[in-house]
């Protein structure tokens, strides 16, 4: 069993990194859009800059944690749902 583990890891690391890179970035974009929506009282220039600065920590935070997923499939499913959740909140926030 122990001998199988590295192979499982090697098979999935590309899928995990891709999930973290792509879905992590879209998640960061969605979060920054949600922030921009909720912080509508802030001056536009400052809001835009803060929304840009928050991309890197969210994106790379997700990318760095992606290896905690059990498999590449789990990573895509988990991060995909997180994306849908934030996009849903974004859609809801329109009716606030």
């Amino acid at each position: 069993m122990g001998a199988l583990k590295p192979a499982a890891m090697a098979r999935d690391w590309v899928a995990k990194i891709l999930a973290g890179t792509l879905l992590g970035f879209t998640l960061a974009l969605a979060c920054s859009a949600l922030f921009a929506r909720l912080a509508s009282g802030m001056a536009l220039a400052a809001r835009g800059q803060l929304a840009m600065w928050m991309l890197a920590p969210i994106w790379l935070g997700v990318l760095a944690s992606v290896f905690f997923f059990r498999s590449g499939k789990h990573a895509w499913l988990g991060l995909g749902s997180a994306n849908l959740l934030v996009l849903g909140l974004l859609a809801l926030s329109r009716y606030l």
Partner: protein, 548 residues
């Protein structure tokens, strides 16, 4: 399950670290120097009547008006310098760039200074400000590549992403044993254990600094792209640049109504009494969009930009048009954004923070160097305990030997190259037409030669020799100043300001430190374990055999 994660993150840490490590060494070593780029520029600037003192404020209005009347190139953007330092022009300075120039690429720009003559006329001269600190800065920003271009910045961005992953994974690997390992520096027989402990202590202790650097470096590399994507998908459809104030329309301005710098400074003083102005940057002075930025620092606040902060006024009415970047007087949102820059550049807290950043930068460079050493040590083939290592060294894997050579060549080559190109600022002055073209040549010649030498001789010998070279090059900084002082006929100079002497003193300490490292490395090579890439044994290396 937990150990499984640790193992995965250990390989993430290993591979991100080994790919990005050497580039990050250059970025951090050059970055540590950029903290003191002003003192280095002062050290490197030749004495000249055009530099080193500020004109009296009451003479400035006449100089500004006359310069604007006679110099078409100055109107777009010129600066009045209020402080005196060896590298600061006396009076006004501006640059004329080619329209093809990139935002950061100023290689084709021409520089001018306008100053007052004693008879009351103005004198305009084209000058060549030292490009030394620009080279250091550019090496810092694009991981040692020759040009600060978009593709090179994107490459730096990838390095910064790997660096972030290396940081997070390194912390995850260390977490389970953090309490046990953090308070333990096991000095002793097990050298690898000691290096690992030191690597962990430095990494954890400077983790906040490294997280700030990694994330802000990613933003600095990709902010254009980030804004572009956000604008494309943004439901607001507006960007910060679109939000910039629309320019007021109106007739061209009448120079006779230009307010004096003294009046403008008084206006700023009223706005923020603790603000210390250093220069006035006049933008588009002859157009309806005329604006003057009063740049400076506030000792009690962080600066939102590397060169400080500013308040923008209309130079004809004195009306404040933008105080978003005034240190200590920013809105909380702008202060937060400004703090990202201040945290990267160390522009808060004055000299103690700058020294702290300098040391953290050097410690960061050491972190990547030691990371590579640990990679090598983990992969080293050990001699069997009963074998006599001196007579039969264990052949190490080729990738291990090559990574050792690359680490030594890149890291020590960068250190020696930077020191030598700094020294060259004084020796080349007056002997070559454009010293600024020589600075990168010298750096890359030393860097390239060190790399080749390291692969030719093997890491063990090259490490010692290149450390001696780096020590000699670094000690040449204060020695050059000493020679210039003792023999003025050499045509060099020794500035006696605390900043310039500080460069000499720091280089002296750095050079002595490098000598200590060279001696310690030699000790290890000759008397350390023979089954190591760092060992010099008679059997292995016949090339470069110059055993001292």
């Amino acid at each position: 399950m937990r150990t499984e994660f640790i193992r995965i993150y250990k390989s993430v840490h290993t591979w991100t670290g080994i790919i990005a490590g050497m580039a990050l060494f250059i970025a951090f070593y050059a970055g540590a120097l950029t903290i003191f780029k002003e003192p280095i520029a002062r050290w490197a600037t030749a004495p000249s009547p055009l530099y080193g003192s500020a004109i009296a404020l009451e003479h400035a209005p006449a100089l500004i008006v006359r310069t604007l009347q006679s110099q078409a190139g100055a109107a777009r953007d010129f600066r009045l310098h209020l402080q005196s330092a060896e590298h600061l022009p006396k009076g006004l300075s501006w640059q004329v760039r080619q329209p093809t120039d990139d935002e950061h690429d100023t290689s084709t720009a021409r520089y001018y200074i306008a100053t007052l003559e004693t008879e009351g006329g103005t004198q305009v001269a084209e000058v060549q400000p030292s490009g030394l600190v620009k080279l250091i800065d550019s090496l810092h920003r694009v991981v040692g590549l020759p040009a600060d271009t978009d593709p090179n910045r994107w490459l730096m961005g990838i390095i910064a992403v790997l660096y972030t992953l290396a940081l997070v994974s390194g912390v995850i690997v260390l977490l389970p044993s953090l309490v046990k390992d953090f308070f333990a520096l096991r000095v002793g027989k097990n050298l690898k254990r000691m290096w690992l402990d030191a690597h962990n202590v430095v990494g954890i202790a400077s983790l906040p600094f490294h997280l700030v650097m990694a994330l802000s470096a990613v933003v600095f590399a990709y902010h254009d792209g980030f804004y572009l994507i956000q604008n494309k998908i943004s439901l607001d459809g507006k960007s910060p640049s679109a939000a910039r104030q629309a320019s007021p329309s109106g007739a061209p301005r009448d120079l006779a109504q230009l307010l004096t710098p003294a009046l403008l400074l008084a206006r700023v003083q009223a706005l923020s009494p603790s603000f210390e102005a250093s220069s006035l940057q006049y933008l588009n002075t002859l157009t309806p969009r005329a604006s003057v930025r009063v740049w400076g620092h506030d000792p009690a606040a962080h600066s939102p930009r590397l060169t400080g902060g500013f308040v923008a006024l209309d130079p004809y009415t004195g009306k404040v048009t933008n105080a978003d970047f005034l240190p200590g007087r920013q809105s909380s949102a702008n202060a937060v954004i400004g703090s990202f820059f201040a945290l990267h550049f160390g522009t808060y807290g004055g000299a103690p923070v700058r020294w702290l950043y300098f040391l953290l930068g050097l410690a960061g460079a050491w972190l990547f160097y030691s990371g590579n050493l640990l990679w090598l040590e983990t992969r080293r083939k050990k001699a069997a305990a009963n074998r006599i290592a001196e007579t039969s060294p264990v052949p190490q894997r080729r990738d291990v030997r090559w990574l050792a050579c690359a680490t030594v060549g890149v890291c020590l080559g960068a250190v020696a190259g930077l020191s030598l190109t700094i020294v060259a600022a004084k020796w080349l002055h007056g002997h070559v037409a454009s010293p600024n073209a020589w600075h990168p040549l010298i750096y890359y010649a030393v860097f390239g030669a060190a790399l080749v030498w390291s692969f030719w001789c093997g890491a063990a010998r090259a490490a010692i020799q290149l450390l001696w070279l780096a020590a000699a090059a670094t000690l040449a900084i204060p020695v050059t100043s000493l020679l210039a002082w003792a023999w003025p006929a050499l045509g060099m100079w020794t500035h006696t300001s605390a900043a310039a002497l500080g460069v000499d003193a720091t280089a002296l300490l750095g050079g002595l430190g490098l000598i200590w490292m060279a001696r310690a490395t030699r000790q290890r090579a000759l008397h350390g374990p023979a089954d190591s890439v760092w060992a010099i044994t008679a059997a292995r290396s016949v090339r470069c055999a110059r055993d001292r």
